[in-house]
């Protein structure tokens, strides 16, 4: 599934590593929260960017103290209806000051891109190329907002 970052489809440099897989030297890798917690010492000092992937039932507070070590946090959206990730992402940005890549993972359709954008996600795993290509149109579909949010821009 294509990754949109800052509005454009990118070649994804990150690799997701399963809990029992060895971690390649120096490539940017994403590990689960459980693995991060278990191997924090080695992962924090590795030579290469590290990212953590949160399930939808894992919280911003679970990773907040470690954000300085992380270049990326990925948050799962297992179904369209599971909206916990919006809170998690927003808190990571607003409350905990995370400045790395905040990525939404799932088969995401363009209709949720505006919400993700406004909650501070700068990278989105789209359902397919068609949805990815619609990012700009989707985010710009409604150009006014009532709420202050992380990101007030709609472009």
């Amino acid at each position: 599934m294509p990754i949109i970052k800052n509005g454009a489809v990118i070649t994804d440099p990150w690799i997701a590593i399963a809990d029992d897989e060895p971690i390649p030297v120096s490539r940017p890798v994403i590990v689960s929260l459980a693995r991060w917690i278990a191997e924090r010492e080695t992962l924090a000092t590795r030579n290469g960017p590290i990212g953590v992937r949160l399930r939808s039932d894992e919280h911003a507070e679970d990773i907040a103290a470690d954000l300085d070590h992380l270049s990326l946090v990925a948050i799962e959206f297992p179904t369209l209806g599971d909206g916990r990730g919006y809170t998690t992402g927003r808190l990571l940005r607003e409350r905990h000051g995370f400045t790395g890549e905040l990525r939404a993972i799932g088969k995401l359709v363009r209709d949720v891109f505006p919400f993700l954008n406004r909650c501070g996600f700068d990278a989105i795993e789209a359902r397919d190329d068609v949805e990815a290509a619609a990012w700009r149109q989707a985010v710009g579909a409604i150009t006014v907002t009532y709420q202050n949010a992380v990101n007030r821009s709609t472009s």
């Binding site: 909206g83 919006y86 809170t87 359709v109 909650c119 579909a141 006014v144 907002t145």
Partner: protein
């Protein structure tokens, strides 16, 4: 009433085009039904038993004549000439086509209406006291705060995919006509000893499968913190509400399972972090909204109108209508006129396009073009001069809108039930019709007095039966329609959940059963206590005995 500015208008206009494109993608197969369903629900479009159903928002139950005329137009052009007013102050159309819905929404947007978030797991229409700005004893017009909440909750990026639906209600008066204590969040506007405005915040009320009265989180939240406090409640709910079981996903379950005090602590801890943040509306915004709810240009009248008194003496039918359907107004010489949509043998809450048009015209002529919708499926003309009531009533009579039964037993709330709804387990409307026919005699109705009878066609309780003085729940027993009766429920400032009186009763026995209940009440009531007061005093046993004794 509130008028859109360019931001409000742009939002609804763009929303229409966004939905139009979503429908196009759906029809072309680019979106599956699973992907499309949450999107259409968030534009108020259900798939029901016979067809789609569109639920149009009527924010805090306030409608202008122009808006009502647009609903007339939609009923006539896109539907089958009628609409249904709901228990959340909205209107439903039962026969729209998906392919035409973007056009319907565009027409609504042209009069500052929409169907945003009237369904889906998001924050729904904020409801309020239907007598806002009209009844005496109001601390503040609840619609100002309701409008602020409407804006805050519309397309909120963080709270658009909650565990389940979320319903907020506001009352500006100690008299609770908005049922705030059985809502996910209920707000009571109050004044403290220093004369400052603040809010009692009640969380976790609700009906449905597990009816509960809400828990008070805050006795008095200062005015300026309302939105940040609501944000804290929603954030806790979004994170911690159950997502494993649709029937345990409302905030009331979370409050109940966490415990009221523990839940309050969670909210307060979150709120401490955001209370002075940018959640709140800009300072001038409340004042700007409040201006729209300033009183209309009332005539200065000295007091009760002589003609009104005389007309009641001269015309007994008018007097009967005024007896129940006219409520007193805070402005001297004015009145609140209630239009019950509960004619004898009729479908509760339904109105034909002709009837809606008549109400629009009446409002224009006699109520500063303003109409209200109540959560008891009736309409209100909130600002009528007493001197005009007779003319209003005559027009209502010509249009079959003058049933003199507000608050009486035939003023029944009924959900659409299995005649329309895909979720229903039994029909509710025919029962309402039969009950209203049995109790058609007006003198008998007055003899019984105030009796709120509410019927739900399934356990989801959209008919609010749990808070009926008499509640009726339709169930399916081996393919037959049976009805479970509850007693003593109430949705006002002294809320209670009704108690089941005994085993469910077959359809053809229900009307007799209701009559047995009212007969029992009449036999044992003390003084002029209401039906619900008798149930509270004497308990359900006398009623149970009367109903099930000779079986």
């Amino acid at each position: 009433m509130y008028l859109y500015d360019t931001i409000d208008q742009l939002l609804v206009d763009q929303r229409v085009e966004q939905f139009r494109d979503q429908v196009r993608r759906r029809m072309a197969g680019a979106l599956s039904e699973d992907e499309f369903k949450p999107l259409r629900l968030m534009n108020g479009l259900y798939l029901q038993l016979h067809a789609y159903m569109l639920r149009v928002a009527i924010p805090y139950g306030t409608l202008s004549s122009d808006q009502m005329r647009k609903l007339v137009h939609i009923a006539e052009v896109y539907d089958k000439g009628y609409g249904h007013f709901t228990t959340r102050q909205n209107i439903q159309f039962n026969w729209p086509k998906l392919e035409q819905t973007p056009d319907i929404l565009a027409e609504l947007a042209a009069v500052q209406m929409h169907a945003l978030q009237t369904s889906g797991s998001c924050i729904r229409n904020v409801t309020a006291d239907q007598y806002a700005g009209a009844a005496a004893g109001e601390v503040a017009d609840p619609r100002i705060v309701a409008e602020a909440i409407r804006q805050w909750s519309t397309l909120h990026p963080e709270f658009t995919f909650l565990p389940r639906k979320f319903k907020i209600a506001v009352t500006g008066s100690a008299r609770d006509r908005a049922a705030v204590r059985v809502h996910d969040i209920g707000i009571v506007i109050k004044r403290n000893d220093q004369g400052e405005i603040g809010y009692e915040i009640i969380v976790g009320g609700g009906l449905g499968r597990t009816p509960m009265i809400g828990v008070k989180l805050r006795e008095f939240l200062p005015e300026r913190y309302l939105l940040s406090y609501l944000e804290a409640v929603l954030r806790v709910y979004n994170q911690a509400g159950r997502r494993d079981n649709k029937y345990k996903a409302r905030i009331k379950i979370l409050v109940h399972e966490t415990g009221g005090e523990a839940f309050t602590s969670l909210v307060e801890a979150e709120w401490e972090q955001i209370r002075d943040s940018a959640v709140e509306l800009p300072v001038g915004e409340y004042a700007r909204i409040a201006e729209f709810f300033a009183p209309p240009p009332f005539e200065i009248l000295s007091g009760d109108d002589g003609d009104y008194a005389r007309d009641r003496l001269m015309d007994r039918d008018f007097a009967n209508w005024a007896r129940t359907n006219v409520a007193s107004h805070k402005q001297p010489g004015y009145a609140i006129a209630n239009i019950t949509l509960k004619p004898e043998g009729g479908i509760p809450g339904d109105a034909t396009s002709e009837q809606m048009d008549a109400v629009a015209t009446l409002a224009e002529q006699f109520s500063f073009s303003e109409i209200r919708v109540t959560h008891e499926q009736n309409l209100v003309l909130p600002y009528v001069r007493q001197a005009d009531l007779y003319a209003v009533w005559q027009t209502l009579k010509r249009n079959g809108l003058a049933t003199p039964n507000l608050g009486l037993i035939s003023d029944i709330i009924a959900c659409p039930g299995m005649d329309y709804c895909g979720l229903a387990t039994a029909r509710s409307i025919p029962l309402a019709q039969d009950i209203s026919k049995r109790f058609a005699d007006l003198e008998q109705q007055h003899h019984i007095g105030e009796l709120k009878l509410k019927i739900s066609g399934c356990i989801n309780a959209c008919g609010h039966h749990h808070v009926g003085h008499i509640g009726i729940l339709g169930v399916d027993k081996r393919g037959e329609e049976f009805y479970q009766i509850t007693l003593g429920g109430s949705a006002d400032e002294a809320p209670s959940i009704g108690k089941i009186v005994g085993p469910a009763v077959a359809y053809d026995k229900v009307v007799d059963a209701i009559e047995t209940l009212t007969d029992t009440y009449l036999a044992i009531r003390a003084g002029d206590e209401r039906f619900v007061d008798t149930v509270r005093r004497a308990g359900v046993d006398p009623f149970k005995e009367a109903l099930y004794a000779d079986h």
